[in-house]
């Protein structure tokens, strides 16, 4: 187990980076405490896999240092960093049995057979692989193979951190739930630091204690799932997290009250001071938009039944607003008014949260 720190880390895939865009990872400083479950969340190309490769040692950063428990490991190769990694598609040694696959890392390190037998069986029991130990690894289904990949990391008692690179990509949706909650259960039992890279917010938010949201090589926000949901610091976080994402509407400020198209929008988080020439926006999640007697006039465009809630698309002028209504609730037919919950309405300047 280890505390992982990234100091002044920057990475570029080009030999001579010139502009800011040439850097795949912009300068960052991040601290991950011992034993936590973390997620690196962001769209394709945001740099999360690059960051994971730097932590695991498969990639050397252009600038900056990686520290495990205060010790500089930037130059140390992966097999000496005591990390385990689970990849996007299952990596198993086809010619070996499940047992041999799990025993492989221990055998490479010279562990005695008697000792490793106990460890292999223990991990196989935790992962529900006991019945398949004698089978050839190539014969298992995708989720079985991913479990083997995971198991190879868990058998080693000296593991500092387990890194996951979008591990549920090839798993069937109905098995994803099971495997995901298994990972969560594992973390709660074993307590190793786990870092999970994904572009799926449900995976990230359900697994992690702390989520690192990334966009175009920058860490935009680090926080608990609740933090990210209730207090998104950037409109990108508001948009990316939540399905559907946060409504972002342009506004103007008069005094401390934001106005959307002439209609005042009360908020419990007013802007400090007055804005200059920045782009001002209101951010409010569809969960906190509700129908009301008065407020912002809208017309109903469409509503979709999503099972446990309904998504209503509304239009005001050329702006689209989304609203979540409970299952089975009656909806107005053509026009209506909506209100935003003041406790969850925030003002953003140039994308960043004010106040």
């Amino acid at each position: 187990m280890a505390r992982i720190s990234l100091q002044d880390l920057r990475h570029s895939y080009l030999d001579v980076p010139r502009t800011e865009d040439d850097w795949a990872l912009k300068r960052m400083n991040v601290e991950w405490s011992d034993g936590g479950a973390y997620a690196l969340l962001g769209p394709s190309g945001c740099g999360k896999t690059t960051l994971l490769s730097i932590i695991s040692g498969l990639l050397m950063p252009t600038e900056g240092r990686v520290l495990f428990d205060g010790g500089d490991v930037t130059d140390i190769p992966p097999d000496q960093r005591n990390i385990a990694q689970v990849f996007q598609f299952p990596v198993v040694y086809d010619t070996m049995t499940v047992y041999d696959n799990l025993a492989f890392p221990l055998r490479n390190r010279g562990t005695a057979e008697v000792e490793l037998d106990g460890k292999v069986r223990e991990i196989a029991a935790i992962l529900d692989l006991e019945d398949t130990l004698k089978k050839r690894a190539s014969g298992l289904t995708a989720d079985g193979k991913q479990k083997i990949s995971l198991g190879r990391g868990l058998v080693r008692s000296d593991v500092n951190a387990i890194l996951f690179d979008e591990p549920l990509t090839v798993i069937d949706p109905h098995l994803k739930w099971i495997l995901r909650s298994k990972l969560k259960e594992l973390h709660q039992r074993i307590g190793t630091t786990m870092i999970y890279v994904t572009h799926d917010q449900t995976e990230a938010l359900t697994f992690a204690d702390q989520v690192v949201v990334m966009h175009e090589g920058t860490v935009v926000q680090i926080g608990t799932p609740v933090d990210l949901f209730e207090r998104p610091k950037h409109t990108f976080v508001g948009h990316f997290i939540g399905s559907p994402g946060m409504n972002v509407l342009p506004c103007t400020l008069e005094g401390a009250t934001p106005y959307f198209d002439g209609v005042p929008v009360p908020t419990e988080h007013p802007a400090p001071g007055n804005g200059g020439t920045e782009r001002l926006e209101i951010g409010v999640r569809p969960e906190f938009v509700s129908f009301a007697e008065d407020g912002i006039p809208v017309e109903i465009v469409r509503f979709s039944d999503a099972g446990r809630y309904q998504i209503v698309e509304l239009r005001h002028g050329e702006h689209l607003i989304k609203l979540l209504a409970p299952e089975g609730a009656a909806l107005p037919s053509e026009t209506a008014h909506v209100r935003f919950d003041p406790a969850h309405t925030r003002i953003y300047a140039d994308g960043w949260m004010m106040g």
């Binding site: 097999d79 990694q85 996007q88 492989f104 490479n108 390190r109």
Partner: protein, 288 residues
């Protein structure tokens, strides 16, 4: 598959090739079968002999000897070229400008006409004026491929390795390139040694490609004719007279068409049988 009858015109396109193959391969094959069961003394007079030629061939000492020579040759060739080819493929660069350079270098020996290869090595290995001949003799060995069986074998094998290892290299290289990086990364993290990576990742993933390479090399070396013939003529004596060379000697040298035809059919069947056995074994181990 969708309706094949929808495309009757397609057969017209294939007709010329079919005619060509029929003329060049099927008719001669039928002729050989014809000769193998008959005896002729010329003047187009034929006597039915039935399986007499086949019995003669299968029982002849000469046939057994060349078959043995052939099997030994093929065995040595495969055991050198396959590991060597894989080893070279493993050391070839995977990225950057040197990739094209290496691939071209590897392809060069394969492009040379086979009789030129034989002629090249002939001169190269001559004991008095050839570079190789001079070097080996200079090292203290008594080397003369025109007179000593061992030297003749050595030279023939060296020539074949030089000529054909590249094929194995190129095929193995292609197989290696298709292995995703994640496997190497996982092996690194598992602390696997270079040998373990080779045994558990590279070799299994290359299996299909290696099957093709071995099959090709087996067939080609078993039927080899041009290069050893130009190099040694089958000598000294008959020490490098492989099956095909022997066959030609009987057919054209002695003009024993009957036995020759029978022998070539037996030859054909042996190659077919060995290929089939080998292929089935490889496919069966894969299914497991």
């Amino acid at each position: 598959m969708t309706n094949k009858k929808a495309y009757p015109k397609a057969w017209l396109f294939v007709l010329p090739v079919v005619a060509l193959v029929a003329f060049n391969a099927l008719i001669p094959l039928m002729t050989v079968v014809n000769y193998s069961v008959q005896e002729t003394f010329g003047n187009n007079v034929f006597f039915w002999e039935g399986v007499k030629w086949f019995e003669q061939v299968l029982n002849s000492e000469r046939f057994h000897a060349s078959l043995l020579r052939q099997l030994t040759f093929t065995g040595i060739i495969l055991s050198i070229e396959v590991p060597l080819g894989i080893a070279i493929a493993l050391t070839m660069p995977t990225r950057g400008i040197w990739v094209s350079v290496c691939l071209v270098l590897m392809a060069l020996p394969l492009l040379i006409p086979w009789n030129v290869v034989g002629a090249m090595w002939n001169i190269f290995a001559l004991p008095e004026i050839g570079l190789l001949g001079q070097i080996i003799n200079g090292m203290g060995f008594d080397y003369n491929f025109t007179q000593q069986p061992l030297s003749a074998w050595f030279t023939t094998i060296l020539m074949d390795v030089w000529h054909w290892t590249s094929l194995v290299v190129l095929l193995a290289y292609a197989g290696l390139q298709s292995i995703p990086d994640a496997y190497y990364q996982a092996a690194k993290i598992d602390g696997a040694s270079g040998w373990a990576v080779f045994r558990y990742i590279q070799l299994p993933k290359m299996k299909r490609v290696l099957t093709i390479a071995i099959l090709l090399r087996f067939m080609d070396s078993f039927m080899i004719y041009t290069e050893p013939f130009v190099l040694t003529g089958g000598g000294p004596g008959n020490t490098t007279t492989f099956l095909s060379i022997d066959l030609v000697k009987i057919a054209l040298g002695q003009f024993d068409l009957g036995p020759a035809a029978a022998m070539s059919l037996v030859y054909f069947l042996i190659v077919l049988l060995l290929c089939w056995v080998f292929y089935t074994l490889m496919m069966r181990t894969e299914e497991q």
